[in-house]
Symmetry: C2
Subunit: 190 residues, 2 copies
């Protein structure tokens, strides 16, 4: 059920880093993105895969984690993602890539969920740092990094009242709470 996958597909930020993700799994996930919708079918997205410690360590320091969790600068060693998929926009194909990137990211994350994995779509990236670290040619714009692993976080969804605070937060037991707006607030005409 898509609904079950979407409910399970939370943004996870702590992982069992010792559990590897194979290259073949990442390729299968990108293949889901490949079969997803693209504006004018131009398919401007390109992908960098990372599933080994060395390349992972080049990516991690260029990511900003969970802005709302003050005093937490990201997952500690041992709880970091086992793999990454970097989504790039190829300027030589089309610059109409923002919706495409969201669509592709959702396909990848749902596919990951189905495999017992999970992750986080990260847009808050130190782009020049990542470009240098991975030697990404200027032809490509860095759009999103998908961090992937076997999730360790416990995440619960809550519904906030109209105009309520949507900042996620972590309680004293480490449970991550995500306030979502109610359905009748986001549907404005029906």
């Amino acid at each position: 059920m898509i609904r079950d996958s979407i409910l399970k597909n939370r943004s996870y930020r702590r992982f069992y880093e010792e559990i590897d993700i194979k290259l073949e799994t990442l390729r299968e996930l990108v293949d889901l993105a490949r079969h997803s919708a693209s504006a004018m079918n131009a398919q401007p997205l390109k992908y960098i895969l990372s599933w080994e410690a060395q390349r992972n360590s080049l990516i991690f320091p260029n990511l900003t984690w969970a802005t709302y969790l003050r005093g937490w600068s990201g997952p500690a060693e041992g709880e970091r993602p086992s793999a990454y998929i970097v989504i790039l926009g190829d300027t030589e194909v089309s610059r109409f890539w923002d919706y495409d990137a969201g669509i592709a990211a959702q396909s990848v994350l749902l596919g990951a969920t189905e495999r017992g994995l999970g992750g986080c779509m990260i847009a808050n990236i130190r782009k020049e740092g990542l470009r240098k670290a991975l030697e990404i040619p200027s032809r490509y714009e860095i759009l999103l990094v998908l961090a992937l692993g076997k999730p360790k976080d416990k995440v619960v969804i809550e519904t906030v009242g109209p105009g309520g605070d949507t900042k996620y937060w972590r309680d004293s037991e480490g449970v991550h709470h995500v306030p979502k707006r109610p359905l009748d607030e986001i549907i404005i005409v029906s």
Copy 2:
């Protein structure tokens, strides 16, 4: 299986218009979007639902269909979408909504596929026309229209060689062909 849903979830542009989609179904689909990832969890997306002939007829003339199919200006009466979900960006919440809209649209379309429905994400919209027709306040930016129905199109995916033409096309029997770039072209580092 997510993969099966993604493969079945083609962009459909002709429908069995006589098959209704209920308001409750549209609400369930938006609820999938509601549970999907949102940048900084700000949730700036709002939704207009349309599932009755009168409102549908206000939306349809403001959409541009399948630019690549010359001589075809869109589905004829009787083959038009049974329902629409208009995705808006609420400027009073956050303007960082492009990835969110792609993510939400993919959640909705996958949910529709699972229900035996299908549709098309349309970004080529006559926005001022649609704004007037639906009396959309200026607070909201029009992002995407999801056209939904029981698909009548037959769609096949093909893989093009490197640098090949990605324009979709319709053959003499009305089958819609969608060329997708090969996996090894879109993965640039692995």
